[in-house]
């Protein structure tokens, strides 16, 4: 029997309330937290979930966090301490083979009881700076999942309201920055408790059945919307492939990614069969917690683009339901225990970029040309004079490919990354580090096109005392593609430099683990630049001139790639431009 539908007005009221609860949870978490990865980068997710682990609502935050919590909940279900949820429980969980996104993203879950019955979960995830892994902050070249640090599988920090002091004490002894870790976990608990409080208030106001009934209808609604968007894409198999630089240890082994999107009516499958086998380092992707949410994210950006939409969709499970994800066991997107799987982000971002590429021919108005599609994640660390560690995690930005109606944005977090940078001045005041350069990369040009690709960033960070650096990124070889006649973008690069030395900086691979740096040594990260969209000869000459004036393009490049001629005063020579463009067009045909 179908339950009676909620009246349309109450439905809107509850929809708004759910969204507000998630936003409030996220607000408390990032405002209260200590580590810059949470407070500045906002590398978190928060929301409410039903007892079947469906997302009822979720906050804005970092896209990979959003959508991963159901995986955690399904995992906890298999390993929960005592096997049963009690009112007042607070569970901590991060086991990548029990649904976690990756081990540093600790999940806090509090069950919500109403009138003696468990009705939902309030939960959040946040990236923690250090959980006692083999190397400070980030890990790549490690043997197995046990080198990732503390693994929590459905453990209770509070058991029916009783604080588990032994566990807290254990946590305290197992992190390089234990104080920060503990306080940030406290911030997560405060956020989840607020979710419990607010959801309970909602249940009291409207009644359990009305609220849960409305939440289900909102899921159906979002699902229906997603299905109708999918059904607009012609049925068929759409494929694209690319490759990853290496696994962080075996430098010459490129790792293929193969994406096949199967559209079948109003549902679809992402099949990653043919992608690389799992690797012996931590460069694997947990299937439930990361591969799947990354696919969901791909279709949200493609089919539920919040910029082009007239109104907001309720953010819930409905957008995930029409999407099936397949990755063979033992592959890089579905590793088998006990493979390490901490450094998993950049593969996900590349996979999303390939989903976009695969579908570009059939939905050209919704895609981008090739994106930077990597993540530069850097961990700098050292030991203070007193013997304590300092660890600093930094996310560096990328650039977008050109788009159907606009240039690719420059120097901005790409696809599934969406964090805030840490202020250079804040860094300088608190850590033995200094930033030497932070600007638009000017050593290469982005992809040419009617709409050009975005320009990447260059960021140079230097240590002022001895320490180490671990870095993960990608795309030193596989260049972002152009689309519809647009040109290729540019690959990224990483260099180690010594301040004040005349020697050229040393080119290094995209990924390296715990490299020692002397005082005065630093790392420069150059992100890839996006590919172009559309015929460059169709780019309005005025925009090319603007790019020349702004230093995004040289005079020579304007002539060679765009057929735009500038005179010696850098003004547009429209007659010469028209003539050159027509010659170049003829040559092309």
């Amino acid at each position: 029997m179908a339950t009676p539908k909620t009246d349309p007005i109450t439905l809107q009221v509850i929809s708004g309330a759910l969204r507000t609860i998630a936003d409030e949870m996220a607000h408390v978490l990032y405002r209260m937290s200590f580590s810059s990865i949470i407070r500045e980068s906002q590398d978190i997710g928060a929301g409410l979930f039903d007892v079947n682990f469906n997302t009822l609502t979720e906050s804005e935050g970092s896209p990979l966090h959003i959508g991963s919590i159901p995986g955690y909940l399904r995992g906890i279900d298999k390993c929960l301490q005592g096997g049963e949820w009690k009112e007042g429980d607070v569970v901590i969980h991060n086991h990548p083979y029990y649904g976690a996104s990756h081990s540093p993203d600790l999940c806090i879950v509090i069950p919500i009881f109403f009138e003696g019955e468990m009705v939902a979960f309030s939960s959040n995830t946040a990236h923690h700076v250090d959980i006692g892994a083999a190397t400070p902050g980030l890990i790549i070249d490690i043997p197995d999942v046990f080198a990732e640090g503390m693994l929590f599988a459905g453990i209770k920090l509070y058991q029916a309201g009783e604080r588990n002091d032994a566990l807290w004490k254990f946590i305290e002894s197992n992190s390089r920055v234990s104080r920060q870790l503990k306080d940030d976990i406290d911030a997560q608990i405060a956020s989840a408790r607020l979710g419990v409080k607010r959801f309970t208030e909602l249940l009291e106001k409207y009644g359990r059945d009305t609220v849960l009934g409305a939440a289900d209808e909102l899921i159906d609604y979002t699902e229906k919307f997603m299905r109708s968007r999918i059904s607009e894409i012609p049925d068929g198999e759409y494929r694209a492939e690319g490759f990853l630089d290496d696994d962080g240890r075996n430098r010459d082994e490129r790792l293929p990614i193969k994406v096949c999107v199967r559209i079948e009516g109003d549902s679809l499958e992402v099949d990653l069969t043919g992608s690389a086998d799992q690797v012996p380092t931590a460069f694997n992707v947990p299937f439930d917690g990361s591969t799947k949410p990354a696919c969901y994210c791909a279709f949200r950006v493609l089919l539920m683009d919040t910029y082009t939409a007239d109104y907001k969709m309720p953010p819930n499970e409905g957008s995930f339901k029409p999407i099936r994800v397949t990755a063979p066991k033992g592959s890089i997107f579905n590793p088998e225990f006990p493979a390490a799987a901490e450094a998993r982000f950049t593969q996900c971002n590349r996979m999303i970029d390939l989903i976009i590429k695969a579908l570009a021919p059939v939905i050209p108005d919704k895609v981008t040309a090739g994106n930077s599609a990597t993540l530069s994640f850097a961990a700098y660390s050292g030991v203070k004079p007193g013997g304590d560690y300092w660890v600093f995690l930094e996310v560096n930005e990328g650039a977008y490919g050109g788009r159907p109606l606009s240039d690719g944005p420059d120097t901005i977090d790409n696809l599934m990354v969406n964090t805030r940078n840490n202020p250079i001045e804040d860094l300088g005041m608190h850590l033995p580090m200094i930033c030497d350069r932070y600007e638009i990369r000017d050593d290469v040009m982005p992809g040419v096109g009617k709409y050009r690709g975005g320009l990447g960033v260059v960021k140079s960070q230097r240590l002022l005392s001895q320490g180490t650096c671990t870095h993960e990124c990608e795309r030193h070889y596989d260049v972002p593609w152009g689309f519809m006649g647009g040109g290729e973008g540019a690959v990224g690069k990483v260099e180690i430099y010594t301040h004040g030395s005349d020697g050229a900086p040393r080119s290094v691979p995209s990924k390296f683990s715990a490299w020692p740096l002397e005082s005065g040594q630093g790392m420069s990260y150059y992100s890839p630049c996006g590919g172009g969209y559309g015929d460059p000869y169709e780019r309005p000459p005025e925009k090319v001139v603007d790019d020349v004036l702004d230093g995004f393009c040289t005079v020579q490049h304007a002539r060679d790639a765009y057929g735009v001629v500038l005179n010696e005063r850098n003004d547009l020579d429209i007659r010469a431009t028209n003539a050159l463009r027509s010659t170049l067009r003829n040559q092309k045909t």
Partner: protein, 698 residues
């Protein structure tokens, strides 16, 4: 010594004139509205001043003071037509304004716009790096400023005809020497340039926000300065010699000269006045805890005033559009919900209201100006709550039939509802959105709305007051005496206010005497700056008041909160008071405190205040002599939120007297505003004319 408050809004320019015994007219308060003149706001301002003087029968030269709330700065940011700005910045960091915080405005989007890249405050070609380096943590000069490069950069900008120039160097908040020197050089090259240094405009840590604030100042500054000069000249040529003061975003007024120089401080000018006016009206009947809800045609502005204290936004949240602007702003939320908000059914069959608005043109369907999408106002008309003959003071003829038709066809039929249900739904959805926003601005910040009075104003506020108060469990509704001109009232009750800040990162727990000395020196310096400004304004020293705050965080946190500093010099003894105040603030804002974590002072802020004599709102005549029935107009069927339609009396607010009480159901009509009192509620008129509405148990 008469004075005028003049507040420019999108549609109307509102005025209030207060005259005193010494004036030719004797003591009095007059209010007036004229049409705004968006092309040049000063035309409307002048018209209004002329007319209100005429109405009051006062000579123009008797006007001593004009306080002005203006949207001129905000409009430049909305219309993107500010100055061409040039920038000198540290070599290696040319693109801080382009990179911003590297976070996208949208989480799930590929086609999103990046406003700071597509419409930069300073184009890259005009961002010129020069060699110089200041090092943290003490501000040591690592590399001296290259003066030749600086001069060459200034020459280049000069050759491009750029006169609005900013100087933004890294770590200048620690040591402004390079910025100051570069400014001298720029002024040598371009003597009439409008030059802003980041350490002058926002002397705080965090490069992007500081640079963005400085850029915004340079972007809006020249036009704002021109407008204010122009207005002063016009006033003079009309024989008005009054001093001109401008409302700032922080809820204080300042001189026109200062606002021309630091125009970034008046971006929220008009909005701030409304909140201050709301506080003032609450105080008229001794209500301290106020939630103001100013509902206009396209948007609603909400604020929380606990115990008469207007809250200032955390500087991490002060944005204008997508651009961070580090100037103190009154804490308020604006959301896209108002009388013009459009109701529609989306593709998935859901019933939605706003944020799209029919605006003033074509406006709601009932205006019969070509609007076809049903709006909130149309719903109110259909429910019989807005009487056509009194709509906007009777100045606009409306057609309820069109409203009925639109709601029936676009909402009721597709959702299989009655016309009434659909109209009630429109209003309920809008009020629900609005009450969530009120909660986010109050309950979520640790304030219990049950202790607050909700004060609705603006044209569309008082109609929804009771419904909103119920949604958020406020204890009562207070409708101010003149809901349409609350912001103008705010202008005549606002103190002069100047604020200065300096970053002095200090851990309280390990602070030595030298650290305290440094903070004391900074406080003294900031007080001197405030004092100088107030003296320049002709305020004698004995009228100066100072507030001082330490903006603190737990060591390692990224967000500061304001903690009150003890009066007088900071000593090792009273230092702990800052810590205590910060813990309390943190617990209120986040529901949590860390007693064992070190507290760090990041920035010291001093606010110099000169109290002004507040407007004296006239007492209302006692109603004992005349019965409330004198105010009765007529009665008409009206549908309330409970779905009941009742024949409901209308009362003329102008005829209500102090002490009068009206039991719901009732509608109170006044020029530009209509108040609804549902059954079970009673309205009581207070001595200054506030209408208090609360539940009434017979």
């Amino acid at each position: 010594m008469a004075r005028i408050g003049v507040d420019v809004g999108g549609t109307c320019t509102d005025l209030i004139l207060e005259t005193f015994e010494s004036d030719s007219t004797g003591r009095g308060v007059f209010i007036h509205k004229v049409e705004s003149t968006p092309q040049d706001q000063s035309i409307g301002v002048l018209n209004g001043i002329r007319q209100i003087c005429e109405t009051a029968g006062i000579k123009r030269e008797e006007i001593d003071l004009i306080v002005h709330g203006t949207t001129v700065a905000a409009n430049i940011t909305l219309e993107h037509n500010g100055a061409e700005v040039g920038m000198l910045t540290s070599r290696g960091f040319r693109d801080i304004l382009h990179i911003a915080r590297h976070k996208r405005p949208h989480n799930f989007s590929l086609q999103f716009d990046v406003p700071w890249q597509s419409r930069p405050l300073v184009k890259r070609r005009n961002r010129i790096p020069v060699s110089e380096r200041i090092f943290p943590p003490a501000g040591r000069i690592e590399e001296p400023l290259d003066e030749e490069e600086t001069r060459a950069a200034a020459e280049l900008l000069k050759s491009r005809g750029i006169k609005s120039i900013i100087i933004c160097f890294l770590f200048s908040f620690l040591n402004p020497a390079h910025e100051k020197r570069a400014k001298q050089i720029v002024l040598e090259v371009i003597p009439d340039a409008y030059v802003s240094c980041s350490s002058e405009i926002a002397n705080v840590i965090r490069e992007y926000e500081r640079f963005s604030t400085t850029a915004m100042n340079a972007y809006v500054g020249p036009k704002v300065a021109l407008y204010l000069q122009h207005l002063e000249q016009k006033l003079q040529s009309e024989g008005i010699t009054a001093k001109l003061r401008i409302m700032q975003s922080n809820g204080g007024v300042s001189t026109a000269e200062k606002c021309a120089r630091e125009s970034v401080s008046i971006l929220m000018s008009g909005l701030a006045a409304g909140v201050i006016g709301g506080r003032y009206c609450g105080a008229l009947s001794n209500a301290g805890n106020i939630l103001t809800v100013d509902i206009g045609g396209t948007s609603a502005d909400l604020s929380t005033i606990p115990d008469g204290n207007i809250k200032i936004k955390n500087s991490r949240d002060t944005y204008v559009g997508e651009y961070p602007v580090l100037t103190p702003m009154i804490d308020m939320t604006t959301l896209g919900a108002g009388g013009g908000s459009i109701a529609y059914i989306d593709e998935g069959g859901h019933f939605r209201v706003g944020p799209q608005s029919a605006g003033a043109d074509p406006g709601p369907v009932c205006y019969a100006r070509g609007g076809v999408e049903p709006t909130v106002t149309d719903a109110q008309v259909v429910l019989g709550r807005l009487d056509p003959e009194h709509f906007l003071g009777g100045n606009l003829s409306i057609d309820p039939g069109l409203a009925k038709k639109a709601i029936t066809e676009k909402i009721a039929k597709p959702l299989n509802m009655t016309l009434e249900q659909a109209a009630l739904g429109i209003i309920r959805i809008m009020n629900s959105n609005m009450s969530l926003a009120i909660r986010a601005n109050s309950v979520a910040r640790g304030y219990d709305t049950r202790d607050f009075s909700l004060m609705p104003f603006g044209g569309a506020g008082p109609l929804n007051g009771v419904a909103l108060a119920r949604e958020i469990s406020a204890k009562e509704v207070i409708v101010p005496p003149a809901p349409g001109i609350t912001a103008a009232i705010g202008l005549l009750v606002t103190d002069m206010k100047y604020e200065f800040t300096t970053s002095v990162p200090t851990l309280i727990g390990s602070a030595q005497q030298e650290d305290l000395d440094r903070i004391n020196r900074v406080v003294d310096k900031l007080k001197t700056l405030c004092r100088e400004r107030l003296l320049e304004d002709g305020i004698p020293e004995n009228s100066h008041d100072f507030e001082q705050f330490a903006e603190c965080r737990y060591r390692g946190q990224g967000f500061e909160l304001r903690a009150e500093m003890p009066d007088g010099k900071l000593t090792s003894k009273n230092l702990k008071a800052i810590e205590k105040n910060f813990h309390a603030e943190h617990e209120r804002d986040y529901g949590w405190r860390f007693n064992d974590v070190e507290v760090e002072i990041v920035t010291v802020r001093v606010i110099g205040v000169a109290k002004v004599e507040k407007l004296k709102w006239p007492r209302l005549e006692e109603g004992s002599g005349s019965p409330v029935e004198d105010a009765f107009m007529y009665e008409r069927p009206t549908t309330f939120d409970d779905g009941e339609t009742r024949v409901t009396p209308r009362y003329n607010r102008d005829k209500l007297r102090a002490g009068h009480a009206i039991s719901g159901p009732a509608i109170v009509i006044q020029h530009n505003s209509t108040t609804m009192i549902p059954a079970g509620y009673r309205g009581r008129v207070q001595e200054f004319g506030n209408l208090h509405i609360s539940e009434h148990h017979a």
